[in-house]
């Protein structure tokens, strides 16, 4: 809003466009700083969003993104995918793996955080924190190596033990019966400590006088956890859970691609891994882009929905 005095004497002011131009000129150094970043975002983030139109084209390498002809009908690749036998399998695997991780992955970090919060021995607390946070920084290749040495069929520690005790070895890493458990288990192992950090921070914000009052009232430690600690982090638990729901279609491309093998495709192949194989290995660019776009769009809706829900819940928190 302009002050009324200015509006009444417009002639004294330079024209609007010159004023805004001068204002922009004042900020020229800032725009110069922004320039490399903007160029990066346009080239590597926004050009690909334009490139997504190949999902509606019959992409030919020689013709390029713009030159390739439109698919007929425009939704042909989506239709092909929908009618293919992969569709059901990929959707099932993606959603199931995601849900398993959500269900099994939520509670352990909360429990660890509560235990760390209850731990009165300083050095033990910090050692356990250091140790349990570490797996978060190991790449999936490294974890794959660890899994191989523990669970592979010939030479894995667990199978050696089983065989020595008269059992027959179990192909944990190559069997459709066990593979999803391996995925969920290794994910929980990797994120147990890291996931606890945020709950710990929330617990640090709980008013200590609450505990003292409870102590005076004769509450034991279990009751304090139940009536003070848990209610204190309830909103953050719900918030994180909702936000994770928004990423339901991200079942973990990095992990699955590195751990899986052809024997377990029926239970482990997800949208992302299929897009990679179809697009970059079989060079079926248009079909793969269509599936990728399908996933991105549903993902967008899920994330926006989750954020909305989280805001509703979060109003009480911040």
């Amino acid at each position: 809003m302009q002050p009324p005095g200015l509006a009444e004497a417009p002639r004294l002011q330079p024209p609007r466009w010159r004023r805004s131009a001068r204002k922009l000129w004042l900020f020229r150094a800032f725009y110069l700083m922004l320039l490399p970043g903007i160029v990066y975002f346009v080239i590597f983030r926004y050009f690909p969003m334009y490139g997504v139109i190949i999902a509606f084209k019959d992409f030919a390498i020689m013709e390029g993104i713009t030159g390739s002809s439109w698919a007929d009908p425009w939704y042909r690749h989506f239709q092909d995918f929908y009618q293919s036998p992969y569709f059901g399998q990929l959707m099932t695997n993606t959603l199931l793996i995601s849900l398993y991780k959500l269900v099994w992955g939520t509670l352990p970090p909360i429990i660890l955080a509560i235990l760390l919060h209850e731990c009165k021995v300083r050095w033990l607390k910090s050692i356990v924190q250091t140790l349990t946070y570490m797996p978060h920084f190991l790449s999936w290749v490294i974890i794959f190596g660890i899994l191989l040495t523990l669970f592979s069929q010939n030479g894995g520690l667990v199978n050696r033990w089983i065989v020595e005790n008269g059992g027959s070895s179990i192909p944990f890493l190559t069997s459709t019966d066990y593979f999803r458990s391996i995925l969920v288990g290794s994910e929980v192992w990797q994120n147990l400590g890291w996931g606890a950090i945020i709950y710990l921070a929330a617990m640090a914000g709980i008013d200590p006088t609450l505990y003292e009052a409870a102590k005076v009232d004769g509450a034991n430690r279990m009751r304090m956890i139940w009536h003070i600690t848990l209610p204190g982090i309830r909103s953050i638990i719900i918030l994180l859970f909702i936000l994770k729901l928004g990423h339901l279609l991200d079942a973990g491309f990095d992990q699955i691609y590195i751990l899986y093998n052809i024997q377990v495709y029926p239970v482990a192949d997800i949208l992302d891994t299929w897009v990679y194989r179809t697009g970059l290995q079989q060079m079926n660019f248009s079909l793969a882009s269509a599936v990728g776009l399908f996933k991105s769009l549903i993902g967008l809706v899920l994330v926006l929905g989750a954020n909305r829900l989280a805001k509703k819940w979060g109003e009480g928190i911040w």
């Binding site: 993104i65 140790l131 570490m134 190596g145 191989l148 894995g156 430690r221 936000l243 793969a288 991105s296």
Partner: protein, 286 residues
Amino acid sequence: MVKGLDDKLFNAIVYLVLGLCGLAAILPILYVVSVSITPFGEVLRNGGFILFPREITFSAYKTLLTESNIPRAFQVTVFITVVGTAVNLVLTGLMAYPLSRKNLPGRNVFLLMIVFTLLFSGGLIPTYLIVKSMGLLDTVWAMILPGAIWSFNVLIMKSFFEGLPEELFESARIDGAKEFRILLRIVTPLSVPVLLTVGLFYLVGHWNEFFQAIFYVTDRTLFPLQVVVREILMQSQQPLENAENMMPTQTMQMASVMLASLPVIVIYPFLQKHFTKGMLLGSIKG
């Protein structure tokens, strides 16, 4: 007293479970270390169960460092990590600083442009086509430039800069300092904590580089460490008829795993608090 006993029991359980969690995190890694320094024959004899090896050999490491692709991959990874992290920090900082100035005209448009990439992306195939059309395929830059700025890190840095006292900038401006000078001489020294936090995340990301290499690089001499290690790990799953290719023993495989993870494991405990801070900063934003 019953209550005192109760409390002691409770404490005991807490310590026990915490100890178990700690062990569960570290034992698999210790086991990998043991296997990697135990002669393969010994591994077979003991049914694989060796936490404290009786016989120690570093021959697996020696073989890997002299007769495999590991040294070359090591060079590639170090290059990506050093140059990549430098590029990341410069670009991220340059972008975050102007965006932290609340009166910058057009600020919201730029912020929206960044936040939107957190919600939606063109996906793998279109990105591949762009990288290809830029002529980056089969160069180290394909592993550096496409991920040069993580949107999230811009937001983390921006909110840190916003917390710096405004008077600082104003007095510098009155002294006639130009904006670039302010950024370099005043903002940067004050921002060491956030630079360290964000830098560490970029650094670990580069050290663990795997996917951009798989997507954009086919030239084997440019493979980073993680890709080469995965190849060594995969060889055991191939049929045995390939006897001409020397079968890497389990010892050798675990030695390669150690080589690829050692720097992270060694550095991490010293920098833990910076990582933790980054995690909290990030989650408050998100």
